[in-house]
């Protein structure tokens, strides 16, 4: 661990003033909880609207240095720089659309998971908006900048504020400030202004709820945070509840559920292997991933309901009915929504179907567990209405 002083975000003072308990996280001093505590913050987000400081993460823009002015060609050109590092179809992004994708290593393991968006504005074609994880951002940015070479510039935006507004009342809280946010559907983005400053808004998040992530210049971050909290439906939520919310939503956490040894198929993230990229097989570790899709798979990320006893946390062994160790828990805890322990972990494919009876070992005791489909708590994203079939 480094002895470097912890970094702060544009909102650190606001958290201290609100009585947050601050902890070191990915090199930053971050609020793990506020006065109400993790359980109430979690349930508040599911019922109303939670506000999260995620300014420690890694937003950036990848901008083509020489644009042709042909919007489609410029978009294809910037995608051609980033696509060799990831398994997603970036070229196929529509204007104002965002996609979840994975940075992959040469052996097909996951180096990070990230969001990539294509700005909507005419003047910003040939540019991608990227958000990577806090703990991996230095390596990710170096990797992306190297791939871009002289053709594009990676402009970091992690000095700005990044605020997530999450929950069933997120739109009601956000729309009075940003009317354009209400027009977004899940995984789309737009630009807007707050007190004259440019902000980027995407309809996305890490809780399974509807909501927005708003990138705002540092000088305006505190004012936006306070403005959002001026709505009584909105309360600040710490990293503790952020973790329990994403666990219930079945969303993996990099460094825990995902790492550079784990492939997208093992991680049950094959949806991130875009069709075009599968067909062309032109992403890192494609041979491995395609072989795994064809059935040559050793392990699979699954959801577990722990049917008795204590929560099974990261590192707990997963055993089969004979007691043999078959895997390990990578994230686990108590689900406030279900009032029961839940976990994610890796098991052999033969034991990965919902209904499979397994055990978890907590403090030397074997407890019954069952594989269940994820998410544990249904997603409530505001998707664009599907076109009616004619």
């Amino acid at each position: 661990m480094s002895d470097a002083p912890l970094k702060t975000t544009p909102l650190t003072e606001a958290h201290r003033g609100a009585g947050a308990r601050m902890v070191p996280f990915a090199g930053y001093e971050m609020p793990v909880q506020y006065a109400e505590g993790v359980l109430k913050e979690h349930l508040w987000t599911r019922a109303h609207c939670g506000l999260f400081d995620v300014s420690h993460m890694g937003p950036a823009f990848l901008r083509l240095n020489r644009r042709s002015g042909d919007r489609k060609a410029d978009h294809a050109a910037v995608c051609a720089l980033l696509e060799p590092l990831v398994c997603g179809d970036l070229r196929g992004l529509k204007r104002g659309q965002q996609r979840y994708t994975l940075l992959l290593g040469e052996r097909g393991g996951i180096v990070d998971d990230l969001m990539v968006g294509r700005p909507a504005a005419d003047g910003r074609q040939g540019e991608l908006q990227i958000v990577v994880n806090a703990g991996t951002k230095e390596d990710d940015f170096a990797r992306i900048a190297s791939a871009a070479g002289d053709a594009a510039e990676l402009v970091r935006a992690d000095d700005r504020g990044l605020i997530a507004v999450q929950g069933p009342e997120a739109e009601a809280v956000t729309a009075p400030i940003f009317p354009e946010a209400a027009t977004l559907s899940f995984m789309t983005l737009c630009s807007a202004a707050f007190e004259g400053a440019p902000v980027e808004i995407s309809r996305s998040g890490y809780t399974g709820e509807d909501g927005f992530e708003i990138l705002v210049p540092a000088a305006k971050a505190r004012a936006l945070w306070e403005r959002l909290l001026g709505d009584p439906r909105c309360r600040p939520i710490g990293l503790g509840a952020r973790d329990s919310l994403r666990l219930e939503a079945g969303l993996p956490l990099y460094g825990h559920d995902l790492d550079e040894t784990i492939s997208p198929v093992e991680a049950s993230l094959e949806f991130a292997l875009s069709k075009r990229r599968r067909e062309s097989g032109d992403f890192p570790g494609a041979a491995r991933a395609l072989g795994e899709l064809a059935g040559r798979l050793d392990r699979r990320r699954v959801g577990l309901r722990v049917l008795e006893g204590a929560p099974a946390r990261e590192g707990a062994e997963i055993v089969d009915q004979s007691g043999a160790i078959v895997g390990a828990v990578t994230s686990g805890g108590f689900s406030p929504t279900l009032s029961a322990p839940i976990a994610m972990g890796y098991v052999p494919p033969a034991l990965a179907e919902p209904g499979a009876r397994l055990g978890v070992v907590v403090r030397g005791k074997r407890q019954a567990a069952e594989v269940v489909a994820m998410p544990f708590v249904p997603h409530r994203y505001r998707r664009k209405p599907a076109k009616e079939e004619s």
Partner: protein, 121 residues
């Protein structure tokens, strides 16, 4: 009632001592969602982890303030772990032990000393 630096309390009546975690500990842990208690009959030594208390985010050991044999555990806690937050120094008790060495109590802090200790944290 006596206290440890690990924020457990012990209250002895005759040779039976009731043990639990302090209000400060309960506040620091946050909402308790699971409690693991020792088996009745188990011999515990002062300083041993004799119970586990879990919040949404973490599991924490609870250390025995004194040595003895467990004679009773709080059967309400498995179904109502929130009792630990509501009344940590009363109805949220964990276990009762038959004291092996009552003199161990003398080494622990009284209320005034514990509150003084808390003020230094």
């Amino acid at each position: 009632m006596r206290f440890t630096k690990d924020h457990e309390w012990v209250d002895a009546i005759g040779d039976v001592a009731t043990m639990g975690i302090t209000a400060y500990a309960a506040e620091q842990l946050g909402d308790v969602v699971f409690v693991e208690l020792p088996d009745v009959g188990k011999e515990v030594k002062a300083g041993d982890a004799f119970a586990v208390v879990e919040s949404v985010k973490a599991a924490s050991d609870v250390y025995a303030p004194v040595s003895g044999q467990v004679v009773e555990v709080n059967g309400a806690l498995p179904d109502s772990p929130e009792t630990v937050n509501a009344v940590p120094e009363a109805g949220g008790w964990f276990a009762k032990v038959k004291l092996a060495n009552p003199a161990e109590l003398d080494a622990l802090m009284d209320r005034a000393a514990y509150e003084q200790f808390l003020s230094t944290l």
